[in-house]
Symmetry: C2
Subunit: 335 residues, 2 copies
DNA sequence: ATGAAAGCGCTAACAA
DNA sequence: TTGTTAGCGCTTTCAT
């Protein structure tokens, strides 16, 4: 049987409270500290975090609910988060909800039952009702990628509007005036913002755009293929901006299947996954999101809410907005 | 305060044992069952899994240690595993060890301290010493992708040798006799197996191959780029087989940068990630691994060890070996 | 089938 | 600083 705190007490002749105090960083007389450490060593003692959790009502576990783990944007962020949380003693329970609101709710409930100390969520359900259990329990919630009105939570966002606007401006500067948008679902926040950026760029340039240049896809590879084919078939756009990675890959598939030459026949700006962009021929110019930075902010915020001083914990919920970057490839033709 | 089993007892006038028995699927008189259910409903009772865990010494949590979450092969498997485990009430704590033996060991120790009921591992350290804590505690271990001598564990593998052999045979049948191998690290099991398959195909065909056609890469994108450039520069191979996804992407980058036309100038067979293969121009022929099947086997095995009958738990450790598939694209030229 | 009671390993309040 | 004690919420004998 594994040694318990009692064994250590017996071995050292000290009381339970002293051992517990030692384990929790309290003050212990030097002489006793040595004794305790020797006993711990000898008996291979390790605290039972479950027992501690029962007492403290904290599991040192954080739940993460994301739409799709098979998505480099998500997995990069999670890798970063997990790394930081683990170094602080927190386990990360990940739940992939397959971009399904129902599954998302189930995942949150599951995590709540598991007594996660807090939750990190890239929300699918825009109303945020799925987060209620954590809200009611007053356990910290950190949202990624979109803020939700009415949910008390910190948020780490990317400036999607600016991202899209800069991309379109780059194309406009290259002389393109008819630019297609392979956009995302109309009810998805990030997609809305990227669409806004598209329009803002045209407005700032004082140029007109046409509704037919806009394709509202579904953020999937399949949707990217279809959207690209539609834009090429039905319009005379000379450039296309694709607003997420899956659709960018889909667009590349479409381009390949139609035998379109990139840059000569069509200019393209993609989104995310630098490595994919470099593997394309020619190299794709893309908008990249700062996943490491997002992860760091998310982890730091939840740790602050969980382990910070009382003032820190009580701070008003904050929203961090990060900027994207454009990495230039060879997929834009100067007209 | 959340309701406890005591509240339910009080509310129903029953004893603790009855409630507990109900909660654990024991027999309870119909009349009482109704009462208990009403009380649970009314008081919003939910079992405290931490308290239960303290008593039962099980956390209903499984640790997963993988080399790299940002790797579609890993993330696909994990998605599948997590899904199944969650539906059985198990939380999945994922640790990405960045293909580092030291971090891998730390991750396992972390998971052990977290009292995970079992561990799933795609091992980096081929000696398996990192798994000791779980071995000693006699907690189930399931290995993915490689078996480890001396570690009592179930394993779910892919027939990597056959995978490579079939790929090379396909190229030989197309008339290629000088086939380059963009292989993996010489000390990595899957890479060794794939290398064996390469040689086996040549031997079966009674044809010679040259050492210079073999490049032992490092399973990274960078390594793929370099390997491809080296093979093209230093040898006269007419085809290349790349043995993992990252290097396949790297090879595509290399091909693009060197301006090589695939199939006309060089035939290629890649590995994993069907979607990437379809996005390449021309579509890549690839070897795909059955990630869903792997996930299912892994999850089923660990659940069997954890929740199976005594006979099942006592069964000799088993090894499942799954077959890969070749998905044909347009990247092979018939000579 | 049900109830009473002990105890899992820890923390924390209180006393010394 | 240290020891004593109660109790977190549950499961599990052992009676009944």
């Amino acid at each position: 049987m594994a040694a318990t705190i009692k064994d250590i007490a017996k071995q050292t002749g000290l009381g339970l409270a002293t051992i517990s105090s030692y384990l929790n960083g309290g003050n212990v007389r030097e002489k006793n500290r040595v004794k305790i450490e020797a006993a711990i060593e000898e008996l291979h003692y390790e605290v039972n975090v479950v027992a501690r959790g029962l007492k403290t009502n904290r599991t040192k576990t954080i739940g993460v609910v994301i739409p799709e783990l098979n998505n480099i944007f998500c997995s990069e962020i999670i890798t970063g988060i997990e790394d930081i949380l683990r170094s602080h003693g927190y386990g990360t329970i990940i739940c992939d909800c397959r971009t399904d609101e129902k599954l998302e709710k189930e995942a949150v409930d599951f995590l709540y039952k598991k007594r996660a100390d807090g939750i990190i969520n890239m929300p699918v359900d825009p109303t945020g009702t799925h987060l209620q259990p954590f809200q009611k329990a007053d356990k910290p919630i950190v949202l990624i990628d979109r803020k939700i009105q009415g949910v008390e939570a910190d948020s780490v966002l990317v400036d999607n509007k600016a991202a899209a606007q800069h991309a379109i401006e780059l194309l406009l500067r290259a002389g393109h005036t008819k630019i297609g948008l392979l956009g995302g679902p109309e009810n998805v926040y990030t997609a809305q913002e990227r669409y806004k950026g598209y329009k803002a760029a045209y407005e700032a340039a004082g140029l007109p755009w046409e509704e037919s240049w806009i394709h509202h896809g579904d953020y999937t590879i399949r949707g990217g293929v279809e959207g690209l084919e539609k834009l090429v078939r039905d319009t005379d756009v000379t450039a296309v901006f694709v607003v997420n990675y899956e659709m960018t890959m889909g667009a590349m598939i479409g381009v390949n299947e139609l035998g379109i030459k990139i840059s000569e026949e069509l200019s393209v700006i993609g989104f995310d996954n630098l490595l994919f962009a470099r593997a394309c021929r020619p190299k794709l110019t893309i908008v990249t999101q700062p996943t490491d930075e997002i992860a760091k902010h998310v982890a730091d915020i939840i740790l602050m809410r969980l382990e910070g001083t009382e003032e820190e914990k009580a701070q008003a919920k904050k929203t961090v907005k990060l900027q994207t970057e454009i990495v230039e490839g060879k997929s834009i033709r100067d007209l």
